[in-house]
């Protein structure tokens, strides 16, 4: 399956700022860490709601919900990247990401701890992620970015949301 992550960069060709094109990212936290995903991929943000369990699912797959008539899988990002699970409550946030797959939209939701911010920075500021210890989180990182004195991890969404392992399933 060919999954395409649309680069916002290609879309807006602002002549004046071409050299310094800034993209918008949604940042959110998982444990004490801050993560980012391109805002173009964010379809909507919902509150946690009970899911329908799926047999033979991965431990980090929560289950399925109904989003206006479509069946959408929800995954727990904390568990996916190897952190302990946090109990869900009415403040738990689910970010719905939409990808373009062969002209069709595929939607998947991710449970996160909390939303932080919408930030802008040029993509050239993204650096390769430091190879610290072998931690599960780093395999889902595309890179890191320094913003306002904070370090933000750029998530490799397709892998983090488990969309790359489906073809083998």
């Amino acid at each position: 399956m060919q999954m395409q992550v649309k680069q916002p960069l290609e879309e807006e060709q602002d002549a004046e700022h071409q050299a310094e094109q800034e993209d918008e990212y949604l940042t959110f936290s998982l444990a004490d860490e801050e993560y980012a995903a391109p805002i173009m991929l964010v379809k909507e943000i919902r509150a946690w709601e009970p899911v329908t369990r799926v047999p033979y699912a991965e431990p980090w797959e929560c289950g399925l919900i109904n989003v206006r008539g479509a069946i959408v899988p929800i995954i727990d990002l904390r568990k996916r990247i190897g952190l302990t699970k946090l109990e869900y409550n009415k403040h738990t946030v689910v970010v719905m990401f939409a990808f373009d797959s062969g002209g069709r939209e595929r939607v998947r939701g991710a449970v996160i701890d909390a939303l932080n911010d919408v930030v802008r920075f040029p993509s050239r500021k993204i650096q390769p992620s430091p190879e610290l210890r072998k931690r599960k989180a780093t395999q889902f990182a595309q890179g890191v970015v320094e913003y306002d004195g904070r370090m933000i991890v750029m998530l490799d969404l397709i892998r983090a949301l488990g969309m790359d392992i489906e073809k083998s399933a």
Binding site: V54, P55, L64, I71, A169
Partner: protein, 692 residues
């Protein structure tokens, strides 16, 4: 002004293929001894519309071919030619050729010139064949009451024609272009034509309606053109304009004399108009009465989006309904009334929207008369196909997917089922065989039957063959029904030698698989030397189905109702264990394996908790590919119609699950795939066996 016509191509092709089907169906219906003028008119009109369309869009091969066809048909229509079997045969062949031409044109290719000429010459040959010409044209010419007007163009007295026509106001609104018509007529005489436009009825600007036509034309043809060609041009608009076709005597046809001829003829048009229009009107009256069903073409995606939206509306409505039971709202009569009304309207809307996808099964059945006719000729059999219930409506996708399996079954009946005429007579049966194709509704399903009065299935032959092929154990004991089921096994074929008709590597197993993939079932009954009947049961639509809601602890699942044979609460005496592990239940003498659904679906179980005894739950007996087994569940809940939602759209396939649905409260429930569960159940047996 140039216009891009390509955007109309799809519609043109769709309509043309429909017209081809009409021609074919009408040809098959025609009674040669007493041809119905209406059906011949139908054929003619269909051919004419293809010709017109293809010429407009520049598909020259199609236009050239239909032109020849049309000429031949016109002679038949005019009674100049008798419709004979050879002509019908050639016309049927030309239907195939036309389909080929249309598909090629659609694909943007031309048929190689040589091949095209071959198709065309066959048609031309029969057009030139004099044998079927009747004497009527000769009698007509000698008939004193209709002198020159009806004679063929080459007649000595006629040097040309004066065609006067005044379109009715609405002609352009019906999509006909009077100017084009004038030009078409003029073109018949090539350069020897003159067009005059009558603007006397043009209204004032204030009263001018751009969509109405106010003009009249007089076209003078100074060549002895065949009058039929002029009639042809008017075939579509006869009742949309006043017209007269007046012969111009040869002497006056010369250009220099046109002025002189004018006053002499001025009184005639009115008279002739009545004369020639009256029979035309009588001829057309019948088809005009046939009510055309109004329809539009809609992209299926749009309909699906609509169905989705209605599905959501249904869920919202049932949510509101649940809220209305809240005590705080009990006093609000008007609100509650409104909710009741909403409920009724939502249901009506849902039914209406689902109806959009429904088409009569005749869309599929229509191909069979031709197929059976061709096959039976090829095989030297005399076979009558009887259709019933063609108007039974089914979902479009069901029609599309059921066609191939039906083709296979009908072929089988014609090829294997019905005996040769000699054998039939020897058996004391009528010489001609009968194949029945029936469709009808039965409790939320459509049932399609393919039956023949042929030789039937011989259980002994089937059984020994299955044993020889190793499909069943040599000492297996089967009931007659089970034996008939054997023909659905992969690798089974009832005929030793595959004939070129049916031996296409597609067996009954594929038929069965296709039917099952539609959520349906197929059964076979047979009486030796009497009949064989295949009965297919299908859901009316693939978008909704009847489901049985069941619970496993907190979880809800849906079992497709068609797969359920029965449900029961087992009595301890029915329960047995095989090898200490496999639970079976004994039901009317048969031992059926039981699959614990919670295990199969990997549902969480508290550590150390003992499996629940079978007596404490319900066993749902289901069937897949003639294999019956029990599913152990906690509780049976309601039966309801459910809207099927794809899992793969955003997720992936899950073993034992076919799709999902959304329940009234907005929750997602998984729809179980009995075939997949059957596999899981068999696999679990193997692993037990391995362990033991």
């Amino acid at each position: 002004m140039s216009m891009d016509l390509s955007r109309f191509h799809d519609v043109f092709f769709e309509e043309s293929f429909e017209a081809v089907n009409t021609i074919e169906a009408s040809l098959l219906e025609v009674d040669l001894d007493a041809p119905d003028p209406e059906s011949i008119n139908n054929i003619f009109r269909a051919a004419h519309s293809i010709k017109g369309g293809s010429a407009t869009f520049g598909f020259s091969q199609v236009a050239a071919y239909t032109h020849v066809m049309e000429n031949l048909l016109d002679e038949v229509r005019a009674g100049k030619r008798r419709l004979t079997q050879p002509i019908v045969d050639v016309l049927l062949e030309s239907v195939d050729a036309l389909r080929l031409l249309l598909s090629s044109a659609k694909a943007g290719e031309d048929i190689p010139e040589e091949e095209f000429a071959q198709h065309k010459s066959k048609l031309e040959a029969i057009s030139k064949d004099q044998s079927s010409l009747t004497m009527s044209s000769a009698t007509l010419t000698s008939d004193a009451s209709a002198p020159v007007a009806e004679s063929a163009g080459g007649d000595d007295g006629v040097g040309g024609w004066r065609v006067v026509f005044t379109p009715h106001k609405e002609m352009m609104q019906r999509g006909n272009d009077p100017l084009r018509l004038a030009k078409e007529i003029a073109s018949l005489a090539e350069s020897d034509a003159e067009i005059e436009c009558d603007i006397s009825t043009l209204p004032d600007w204030e009263h001018f309606e751009p969509l109405n036509s106010y003009l009249g034309w007089t076209v003078k043809l100074r060549k002895p053109v065949d009058k039929a060609a002029i009639d042809d041009a008017f075939a579509w608009v006869e009742d949309e304009c006043d017209m007269a076709i007046v012969p111009i005597p040869k002497a006056q046809a010369a250009p220099t004399q046109t002025e002189a001829e004018e006053p002499a003829e001025s009184s005639e048009p009115v008279q002739t108009a009545e004369k020639s229009a009256a029979p035309a009107a009588a001829k057309q009256a019948k088809p005009a009465v046939v009510a055309e069903s109004q329809s539009i073409r809609v992209d299926l995606d749009k309909v699906d989006a609509l169905i989705n939206m209605v599905g959501e509306l249904v869920i919202t409505q049932s949510m509101l309904n649940m809220l209305s039971e809240d005590e705080a709202l009990q006093g609000m009569e008007k609100l509650l009334q409104g909710l009741t009304q909403l409920k009724r309207q939502t249901r009506a809307l849902q039914e209406g929207v689902m109806q959009i996808r429904m088409l009569p099964i005749s869309f599929c059945f229509n191909r069979f008369p031709r197929m059976v006719r061709d096959l039976s000729r090829q095989l030297g059999k005399d076979i009558e196909l009887m259709l019933s219930g063609e108007n039974t409506e089914v979902d479009k996708t069901v029609i599309e997917k059921i066609t191939d399996p039906l083709v296979h079954l009908v072929r089988n009946s014609v090829d294997h089922g019905i005996e040769n005429p000699a054998d039939r007579v020897a058996k004391g049966k009528p010489e001609y065989g009968s194949v029945y194709l029936r469709a009808y509704h039965q409790v939320g399903n459509i049932v399609i039957e393919v039956e023949d009065d042929g030789k039937g299935l011989d259980p002994q032959v089937l059984l020994s063959k299955a044993k020889r092929k190793g499909l069943i154990a040599g000492d297996a004991i089967l009931s007659e029904a089970q034996i008939f089921e054997l023909i659905f096994l992969p690798g089974f074929s009832t005929k030793e030698e595959a004939s070129d008709l049916s031996g296409r590597g597609v067996g009954m197993d594929v038929v069965k698989r296709n039917v099952q993939s539609l959520g349906g079932s197929i059964q076979v009954e047979s009486e030796l030397n009497r009949r064989t009947r295949f009965t297919i049961r299908l859901p009316l639509t693939l978008a909704i189905m009847d489901g049985q809601l069941i619970s496993l602890g907190e979880e809800l699942y849906v079992i497709p109702l068609v797969t359920i044979i029965e449900s029961l609460q087992p009595d301890p005496s029915m329960i047995n264990r095989v090898a200490g592990a496999h639970e079976t239940i004994k039901l009317r003498g048969a031992y059926l394996p039981v699959l614990r659904l919670s295990e199969a679906l990997d549902a969480s179980q508290n550590e150390g908790e003992k499996p629940k005894p079978l007596m404490d739950g319900i066993i749902v007996i289901v069937e897949h590919e003639s294999r019956r087994f029990g599913l152990f569940v906690d509780e049976l809940l309601s039966q309801q119609q459910i809207v099927i939602k794809s899992l793969e759209e955003n997720y992936r396939l899950i073993p034992g699950v076919s799709a999902a649905t959304i329940l009234g409260d907005g929750r997602v429930a998984l729809i179980l795939d009995v075939g997949g569960l059957s596999q899981l159940q068999k696999d679990s047996e193997v692993s037990y066996a391995d362990a033991g």
